[in-house]
Amino acid sequence: MKETLLLTKHMRENPENSHLIDVYEKNNGYSAARKVFKENNPGEVIEEIKTSNIRGRGGAGFPTGVKWGFLAEDEERYLVINADESEPGTFKDRILLERDPHQLIEGIIVTSFASNISKAFIYIRGEYAKPARRVQDAVEQAYEKGYLGKNIFDSGKDLDVVVHLGAGAYICGEETALLNSLEGRRGEPRLKPPYFPAVKGLYNKPTLVNNVETISSVPWIINNSGKDYAKLGVEGSTGTRIFSLSGHVNNPGNFEIEMGCSFGEFIDTFGNGIKENKTVKAFIPGGASAPWFTGEMLDIKMTIDDVANAGSMLGSGAVVVMDEDTNLVLAAKSIVSFFAHESCGQCTPCREGTTWLEMILERISSGRGRASDIDLLLDVCDNISPGLAWPPQMTTICPLGPSAVSPITSLMGSFREEVESLLPKKVLINND
């Protein structure tokens, strides 16, 4: 099994200077942009994307072409690139920003052409200082060349791109919170309805919000064809995907592969097996929000639908491996702490509930647990995500609260004894 390099080909071949515009252009860069302006009308580009059947790489996996088709008519529409990559375990957008920023810009140009947009924003995670500098430099280079600004590629069309750095909040990866943040408001998710970005997005105008990896795939699709792209991978999960592999593996990193192989194969081939030849106790298939799989579930195929059918999500493509010696209570606590820290505080169940969950796990993991704590944990989880089902129901405004529930339900589902071993035995009191 080998990698299939579409998005990372250029950076692999030019490890030193793939981010520079000259190098990018020498390797056929900006040919997709030139092509659409010369040969296509916007409708054709959208059709090509629909044919490719590419699904959003941010986590939700919504078909990109369909999303573009939803964008409401208005004189002013915006494109916003979600580069607020903050899901623990995920670091794939980082290399795309840092090492191939022109591929993204070219994707933005094509997308804006297809959706008749003249202003785009790249919202980059606050901690990504170097990627942000690279993107800013690349945008400036593109302006100098006339690929951005007025009358780009002599097409008569204008396109401005604004690079915006976040202030260090995971929640701003949620698209409506991102839009609030971009507008200068508190980074808090908006109510849906009525604030669906495709209808009422940035400044209440129709707005396309797409992930970095999704838009970076656009130039390849245009240069080749939607049909060619759809041939890669499997039905429902076409094309390649950059998976971020981390945890107890020998060789962590980003790997671009066609979707469809199993997690076991992926971890063995690219991760070079588990450290010290241990076995896998559990792994997270798609970022910290995703319910865990156990070591017995390594045969599951890495496709959006296979993972969903097994009760989790492929999400942002972050695979985190935990070996047989991992203290899973601490692992769960670590993830819950993250979500508690990142809760925006807007709605009650997430603000109060996630911190409470963190406190209970802290108690249990430090040996101060109570016999009733498992029931309590599950009931608090149920008050955030009623029924503890997947995909989750929620009492919250956005899915951040239920994300903190995932590791706990995973823990209680398959590793309950591990938790119970930390708790005192239940004392039965005879009331007679």
Binding site: A169, I171, R186, G187, L191, P193, A340, H341, E342, S343, C344, G345, Q346, C347, T348, P349, R351, E352, G353, T354, T355, W356, M359, R363, R370, L376, V380, D382, N383, I384, P386, G387, Q393, M394, T395, T396, I397
Partner: protein, 777 residues
């Protein structure tokens, strides 16, 4: 009107308008859904999640907040399912885990939505064993408001109010997640004219007022509905007393007027009722000091004085705090005592104590506006004294109309707060520093385009005592001709419209001074008015009162005016008397009594009827109801008449609109040169405010406003200076306001220190370099 559509709640089919919010539609049908963040006057945010209900969707049942869900055809809702009940119980548990549960020492306990809904929907006990979140408690966020962040449940009612409704977002969320708190910005207190509303709508005890803190428990309060008399908007209020003390005033949600809101002055200006400075006995001046006398001695004294002076001129200066019933009796006694018996129109002996009263636009050719007309106006035009300071709730109603799409046009230099909301602000190019309209209205394109053939409401009044009527006539007549016009005559003081309705003819203070004959014998009644302070005519009035043979003051306090009286008859005030008042829309509303008259005080009409009886006039009003019945007979042609009975019925609680001929006889001043524009601010040095400890400090701040060019002319760089005129030197804060034209300086007329300033004389402003900025306010 949108058609009603059907939807189902808990198996029952109901009807609502399409697009109506689920929580409201259920409420109307008697189904209560618990809530914290939702408030019908604020935009919904769906944050507290208490109002979650289950609705059926194509993908099965889903929990949705009923405060953000709009009714659609055939919506199926369950508000009581096991999932809903569990979720609501869970939300309450979440809200309570960090709530201090200090109900025994919390002012809100007993009327607390958190407490009440916990009893109704909450879990019986807590499973939270960790340490709760702690904040310093409470912290003052302004002179009158305290914040206890531990009690706060982060519902965003206060932040939304100050952002959406009052437009001064000084209170905000800071931090995030579990550390989120409401607070003010550093060095920027919550200084808003409307801050008290946030205390009223806070669903817990997080925001409290200094005036009410630890004073009472809600279950001990006696309550009655009434009408505020701080300005002429006539906000509906609820008076709360305990042990015969006024402890709190709340806003009532009257759709027609205040829609629940109050200005802080209306809300907190009541401590004076129980001030130790209040006059509680009839005082007669002998030599230079006052001594107590009885009511019979007092009336006898008046009778003897009138006889002794042999046909004296008897004049009345009125304030705006009397009820319609009292104005009616004042009119009777004034008529009786007027030696010319009103033979001609100009012989009225009643003068109203408001510098900015003018003849107004009444009569058949002008259609009088109602507050609700603002909502349907395409354009609102303002030329008046500062609306935010003088008619604060009208400011909120205008702001709401503008938010909903009405265009706002503001003329002149005094309305700088409302100018910030305006689509078009017509400053120095159109209105001169003397308040003359420089250009013809039909030549002003932006005006023309927004008024011709449109629904327009104009709010009109004098911006300064010097303003000539001609300028306004030009504008109003143009508007009346070209637009579908409604007119507000914005006389801003209390029950001015009640006085105009019930008094045959009203003149102004200028007329009082001009008509005062020092060679004749004079008796002057001042009734609830202090013209020796806060009037352009103060000095002249003071001289005239000193020159009078006998001065009788009906008032609450010894002040600049009443200290010149020979006889002080102490009167009753808000909550101590019953009657009706008329607001700026001519809506008659009820004031109710909840407190006994303190000491030997009597209502104004009681004194005046006694005097009439002693003088031999047979007047037989035994109580306010009899006067009110008599008054109401004038409105026979209307379906409903403003009798006490009618106004007390809930269905008609909000008053009856009526029309009556109004006679105001006020001439332009001869002077038109002035260098200083003196305007009334919301807070000042009125007798009631300086005797209300919880808000008296708000009227102490002394300042002037000018633009930076004018500041440069005076050579001022600092924020502190001295205002100098003749022997007077006042230490002031200097505020730069770029809305003002060059060479115009604005100063407050109702602040201590400015009472001796004459705006028609020269003055100077100098820097006070060796002083730090004043922190008086």
């Amino acid at each position: 009107m949108t058609e009603n559509i059907k939807f189902t709640v808990n198996g029952n089919e109901l009807e609502a308008k399409s697009g109506e919010l689920l929580i409201e539609a259920c409420e109307k049908s008697g189904i209560h859904i618990p809530r914290f963040c939702w408030h019908k006057r604020l935009d919904p945010v769906g944050m507290c999640r208490m109002c979650l209900v289950e609705v059926e969707t194509p993908r099965g049942k889903a929990l949705v907040p009923s405060c953000t869900t709009e009714i659609t055809e055939d919506l199926v809702v369950d508000t009581e399912s096991a999932v809903v009940t569990k979720a609501q119980e869970g939300i309450l548990e979440f809200l309570l885990i960090n709530h201090p549960l200090d109900c025994p020492v919390c002012d809100k306990a007993g009327e607390c939505p958190l407490q009440d809904q916990t009893m109704a929907y909450g879990p019986g006990e807590s499973r939270f064993v960790e340490e709760k979140r702690h904040f310093e408690k409470p912290i003052p966020i302004s002179e009158i408001i305290l914040l206890d962040r531990e009690r706060c449940i982060l519902c965003a009612r206060c932040t939304r109010f100050s952002d959406e409704i009052s437009g001064d977002p000084l209170i905000e969320f800071i931090q995030r997640g579990n550390k989120t708190e409401v607070n003010t910005f550093p060095d920027e207190p919550f200084r808003s004219y409307f801050s008290g509303n946030t205390v009223q709508i806070c669903p817990v005890g997080a925001l409290t007022s200094t005036s009410y803190r630890f004073k009472a428990r809600p279950w001990d309060l006696k309550k009655v509905s009434s009408t505020c008399n701080c300005c002429s908007v006539g906000c509906s209020i609820e008076l709360n007393t305990s042990q015969n003390k006024m402890l709190r005033i709340l806003g009532e949600d009257n759709e027609f007027t205040n829609q629940g809101w109050l200005s802080d002055k209306g809300r907190y200006n009541f401590d004076y009722l129980h001030s130790e400075n209040r006059v509680l006995n009839i005082l007669s001046k002998e030599e230079d000091s006052f001594s107590k006398i009885s009511i019979s001695d007092a009336t006898e004294m008046i009778k003897n004085k009138i006889a002794e002076l042999d046909n004296p001129n008897i004049k009345f200066i009125l304030g705006s705090s009397s009820t319609n019933e009292e104005y009616f009796v004042i009119n009777e006694i004034a008529n009786y005592l007027n030696k010319d018996k009103f033979l001609s129109k100009d012989s009225s002996n009643i003068y109203f104590g408001d510098d900015l009263l003018f003849e107004g636009y009444f009569g058949d050719q002008y259609s009088q506006a109602k507050l609700e007309d603002l909502d349907s106006s395409e354009t609102i035009v303002v030329w008046a004294e500062d609306i935010k300071d003088n008619l604060p709730i009208l400011y909120l109603r205008i702001k709401k109309a503008v938010k909903n799409g009405s265009k706002l046009i503001v003329f002149g230099h005094t309305n700088t707060a409302i100018a910030g909301l305006a689509d078009f602000y017509f400053g120095k190019d159109i209105v001169s520093n003397k308040f003359e309209l420089i250009r013809n209205p039909n030549e002003i394109e932006d005006l023309k385009n927004n008024i011709e053939g449109k629904k327009v409401t104009v709010i009109t009044g004098k911006s300064t005592v010097f303003q000539k009527k001609e300028s306004l006539d030009k504008l109003i007549n143009y508007l009346n001709e070209k637009a579908e016009l409604k007119v507000f005559n914005s006389f801003s003081k209390g029950n001015t419209f009640g006085a105009l309705q019930n008094i045959d003819e009203v003149k102004g203070l200028n007329e009082f001074c001009n008509e005062f004959d020092t060679n004749a014998k004079n008796i002057v009644f001042t009734i609830g008015v202090n013209p020796v302070n806060s009037s352009y005519f103060s000095q002249k009035i003071k001289e005239n009162l000193i020159a009078s043979d006998f001065v009788i003051s009906l008032d609450l306090f010894v002040n600049e005016t009443t200290e010149l009286a020979d006889l002080i008859l102490p009167t009753t005030s808000l909550g101590e008397k019953e009657g009706t008042v008329t607001n700026m829309e001519m809506r008659v509303m009820k004031q109710n009594k909840i407190l006994p008259a303190p000491g030997s005080t009597l209502s104004e009409w009681e004194y005046l009827v006694s005097i009439l009886n002693v003088l031999g006039e047979n007047v037989n009003y035994k109580n306010e109801i009899e006067i009110n019945n008599y008054l109401s007979e004038q409105y026979k042609n209307q379906e409903k008449v403003p009798t006490f009975d009618n106004l007390n019925k809930p269905s008609n609680l909000f008053g009856v609109l009526n029309k009556k001929d109004i006679n105001i006889n006020i001439k332009d001043l001869k002077e038109d040169n002035f260098s200083l524009l003196m305007v009334r601010r919301l807070y000042g040095d009125s007798s009631t405010q300086i005797n209300s400890p919880s808000i008296s400090m708000l009227g102490a701040h002394k300042f002037i406003e000018l633009n930076s060019t004018t500041a440069k002319k005076y050579g001022i760089n600092s924020k502190v200076g001295n205002f100098i005129q003749g022997p007077n030197s006042i230490l002031i804060n200097i505020e730069i306001n770029e809305y003002l034209p060059d060479d115009l300086v604005i100063a407050p007329i109702n602040r201590r220190g400015f009472e001796d300033i004459d705006p028609s004389l020269d003055f100077n402003i100098t820097e006070a370099k060796n002083r730090e900025e004043l922190n008086v306010n």
